[in-house]
Symmetry: D4
Subunit: 204 residues, 8 copies
């Protein structure tokens, strides 16, 4: 990320040793650091070397703030999610958004099968500059949200579900076929990527 | 259909001659007849032999009523559809429902991206004994409807759309993964099958 | 489930602690509770906090009846299953049906390759108001059953099989293409969803 | 086919000229000839050059018998099919079987949704040395037949259907997952291949 | 589009008569109108009723400007495309962008296999507020562009190609897996949708 | 298997206790028993209760012969396999064939990329009444074998391979498209099913 | 093609007018020109403007040689194909190879089900510097050829076949899983691409 | 590998005992040996029996050089890779290339989203006789490299990624659709196969 963003480390296929070595090198330059896709065990191990790092367990992220994050967005980025199983992806988006200097808020437990809970939160929706919608199963939430708001909507399919959800394919296809204009889509479970795109949109 | 229903002919792969021969045999027994999946040209040709038959152009059906259809349902079956391209499938369901003796109504142009048009028709939804929801694209409408009503919802995916709609697969998967309880699904574009199932549910 | 149903908790991605917290809150309101997709270990742990809860091991369910389940269906819901590997899904449907107040019965070990065992049970089939058919492999049973009965048939594909069964896709596709009228389909392994839909159909 | 079989020409991607040239060469050697996958127009054109050839319109085949077909099977090969749309594939199998010297019979209109029509023909089933089952849609018929007979069953999926039949994939998967022992499968619409295999099985 | 945008008609499955009726109704209200997915023949027919409408042949669009389009974006939206077969989709995006009040430019013939042609146009890339990248085949262009720019990139896969391009699936998957941050994706061939999203991002 | 075959138990999803109970019941009737898909640990446990049972480790089978297997085939069934990873499936076929009373032989290590090793064994091929060909990867072996022999060939795709072998789909598709006449196919890894079909073909 | 190759025009989605304009521009520079994927009608039309161009009907190519093609390969490139339906793709490869200065030969009608015809041509195989193998259906030919030769083999799957050939997917997967070392694969029907790669390999 | 290459053992599905037995037999003949797909634990165990064998941990290979590898290529084979997760596959290619007598070099960390790092290494690219490009995710790197160089490019998709990368399918499809001429493709993660093909190309 050559854009004044913090340095980002994709933790998934890296060992504790590899993560620590990369963090040490980046930290030496004074940068803020975001590690994504790091599981509980690895995060605890890394924190022994970097006790000042913060572990965001639900988001599976680790952050190291060596200098205050500079606020830089024009408005608020709202993350909307439905079921509890979508929370890790929504949290990854939220942690990323904040590390990138955005004001970010979370509207959760607002699935399409209970449309009134969503409509009751209309104000939050209308106040956003960008909305990230995280949803698994049938992936219908971005269409409903996109029909309500006038701002860009970034849809994140999640791998939540079973049977014919096919690890997120059902949600992904639903989102790509959204009949609401202004909806764009990122890869399954890619809360990080949605947050980076939202952050670029939100930039002044 | 061994259930006192009218005789049904699946017109798709049959020639005008074949359809006429089968109709003649069934008509001789005094039955009502429903021909589905019959295109404009074939329907016009068949009507020359059976001038009393009625052509339902949008539904691609032909009906021959030799005796009045006996009303037999306990309540109303409501067919809900979104875009104009879903109308043929919704119409096939409606024609079938009526030939099977059901009171049937149609709520159309109520897609998920304009949720208020749907909510404005709440009464119609609450009054139904069964709801058939016909939708293409992301197939999200059954989830929203299923969240509003307490009666059974039969979802019919349509082959409407382009690109990643894959001829109705996106809608089909969305509906199979519906997070609303009480939703069951039939084959892509199968308005006829949904109507038969709804009719069995609606029977006294 | 806003329909006077018991409260339902989807146990799959929840920890013992989460399940206990939700159960405590719901129990305080006096409701009956159904937990689905809860494995042996979790069920035993939760029962330490709720000793009066009943564990349905094969169905992977836990039920808490604080007040007697009120009978509310018009007839019997029959669950039909083929191989022994389909039993967990059939059991999930049965437990759900009974918690929702239905008279429910089970016809098992009646696969399509031994058609006479099924035909020998004709009476049970004809007596049902709704039939739920649970089958893996080629998913052919709903077609045979649907051809025999006049009532609605809800087909549940299971993930049983290997190779080209593709985790239930073969059975799912078979059921969606059923040539028997009146068959609708739910997601792979979704015994719960089939039971809720059957219960709505069965309601007086 | 190096097995004393007649010469076979796959007509699909060949022009009338190409077919005539190949037929002339083979006919000169005194062989019997079978042309498969030849459409009406091509067949009529080829018959102008070979008036003694016979056109099997439904089977889309052309046969030229220059010498009597020698009977060579041990028993009867029975071709079983369900809907009218499966007839072309069943006919291709029948024409091929007879050109290969087999006694072949046809049992049709016996789908799984009307199991009694099939059971009423039990004798024909039990009398066969090999059964070829041709079916589209859910492809369930081979399982039922395989459960009734003790002889080998060759299943031919057809591309009949719409929506989630996916041009025969649903039927193909159903047949590969058949729970009846002794069922083997050939390619979608491959009535010819099934007949050749059946003929080898039937050989004395 | 409830956002002060012109009225949009999706022309694909509509007859000339239907399009004219909708246009007449919208035109009566004084709105600007954009018809997408309208083929040559239909466009010429509609222009007889609306001679002041403009036909954008390559974009398969028809526009009717009854009042000047009000400029409303903060910067330029750049549409980047590779091969000549991607031009219709790129043009649909450009026509839509301009009807929505954006300054829009086009950079074409800059595929990934000739990276220097793209690098030679660096300035145009750096000057954009949003970039729409239209590409078929392997869909690699958004990754390269996304690596060069700091602004949001919207990727549009096209159905261009043959064999294993599977009607745009290869390009779609490539774009969803883009290793460049800030890339979001729309449906195959959906130049219109990309333009609406870009327009929302570009809004002041 | 209602055909005078031994009793067969599909061991995969059954516990040691379940297998023992079924075996005890069947053994009491004096039958021979074949258990397929039973792993090492389960087989050892079951053998404690049935010490006279024989464990075929590579085939993952257990057999109990209470009376001598009666020979009943007309000729030899030849099992042909390529790589060492195909051996378990080939062995399952061999154990099954012998329990069903067939003379069975094994030709192994004869892949298509070393065609001379196969040709060197021509005699064994020509001597067979039925050939079962077991192969993973590209699944090409049945085509080559089918081109050499005049008897029926049953192809068994295996889940051997990685990447684009997709758990046996590549081999399965290759076999379904075999250009050699007389080849039929069973499910991926289904050595048992191939053996049952071969046994029915081989019957006198 | 920045490699001293002739100029290449992909004719598929281009009009006669577009092809003529591009040809005129390239011809003015004195280059040799190869047009691929040009159908009969277009080719005839273009030849009116460029009477000296040569039409390769089976290969669907048009070539314009303004200067003699300079021979530049180290050895012979052998194109091997099986069925007659593979000939267009094989021919496209041959025309391309010759325009690129290679000595190219064609070995045809040598499918895997008749292995002896292939083995009879061993010499031609052993003499080649590169072999291009063109095959549809099960795509097994490259494995057999690759097992015989020591030089690089480029496999071209063709869209020939029906049913489970899925427009060339079966052949493509077979080739990607080839158990013969030294086999690489290009896109379905891409005879042109195979020839370019072979030409680069063959370069001195 | 009948080509004077070292003996190669595919370690994946073999036990330590099996590998040792095969190695002992081959070593007795004086050959060099390459074991691929051997995990850490197995490699350590095998090295106890063959202490002179060398373990290449990242490449998951074991090599035994009993005689010096004879250099035999005409030029250098360059292996290019993008992310760190692609390193095991790149390393497998490198180890194989060297065992086959090629001069081989590695250019890594040069993904398409940072095109300048790749362009900075232009010389290395231009100096190669063959380039192997290893990439996961969107698989775009071979197109960019193929556009820069004139020599053959062998693309190796890797199973790196998540969600819609589908275990390497996205990268595989991208590479098969590469718009750069001269690119051929091997199976997902098949670094070994790419190296064998490159070695054959590089041979004098
Ligand atoms: N549109 C339809 N979709 C699916 N099945 C249908 C349709 N129309 C009729 N059928 C079924 O097809 C049967 C008649 O098929 P056939 O004998 O081929 O005319 C009827 O009994 C119905 O069950
Ligand atoms: N090319 C297009 N692709 C996808 N959606 C479109 C396209 N053109 C128009 N639309 C949408 O279709 C709606 C109009 O649909 P309709 O009422 O059927 O004409 C518009 O509001 C747009 O959101
Ligand atoms: N390996 C196998 N693959 C497929 N089917 C099998 C296999 N082994 C046994 N079967 C079938 O499974 C039936 C027994 O199933 P079960 O009653 O569940 O033990 C037998 O009659 C066989 O038809
Ligand atoms: N049959 C073909 N298949 C794939 N690519 C081709 C084919 N013919 C030409 N090409 C490529 O298409 C490029 C020309 O494309 P275009 O500028 O659209 O005519 C050439 O440089 C070739 O690399
Ligand atoms: Mg909106
Ligand atoms: Mg509801
Ligand atoms: Mg019925
Ligand atoms: Mg049987
Ligand atoms: Mg960027
Ligand atoms: Mg043969
Ligand atoms: Mg070789
Ligand atoms: Mg190049």
């Amino acid at each position: 990320l050559r854009q004044g963003f913090p340095e980002v480390i994709f933790g998934e296929s890296k060992s504790v040793g590899q993560i620590e070595r990369i963090m040490a090198a980046l930290a030496a330059r004074g940068n803020n650091i975001l590690v994504t896709r790091i599981d509980e065990a690895k995060a605890l191990a890394v924190r022994e070397a970097f006790p000042q790092a913060r572990h965001h367990a639900e988001a599976r992220c680790l952050t190291l703030e060596q200098k205050p994050v500079e606020p830089r967005g024009r408005g608020t980025v709202l993350v909307v999610s439905a079921g509890t199983s979508d929370l890790p992806v929504a949290s990854e988006a939220l942690v990323t958004l904040r590390m990138l200097g955005n004001a970010a808020e979370h509207l959760y437990d607002v699935g399409v099968a209970g449309i009134h809970r969503l409509l009751a939160r209309r104000e939050a929706l209308f106040a956003a500059r960008v909305v990230i919608v995280v949803a698994g199963m049938e992936g219908a939430l971005p269409s409903v949200v996109g029909g309500l708001v006038n701002c860009p909507v970034i849809a994140v399919p999640t791998s939540v579900g079973y049977g014919a959800s096919f690890g997120g394919i059902a949600a992904l296809l639903g989102m790509l076929n959204s009949c609401a204009a202004g909806v764009t889509v990122v890869n399954i479970d890619n809360g990080f990527g949605a947050a980076v795109a939202a952050s670029m949109i939100n930039r002044e």
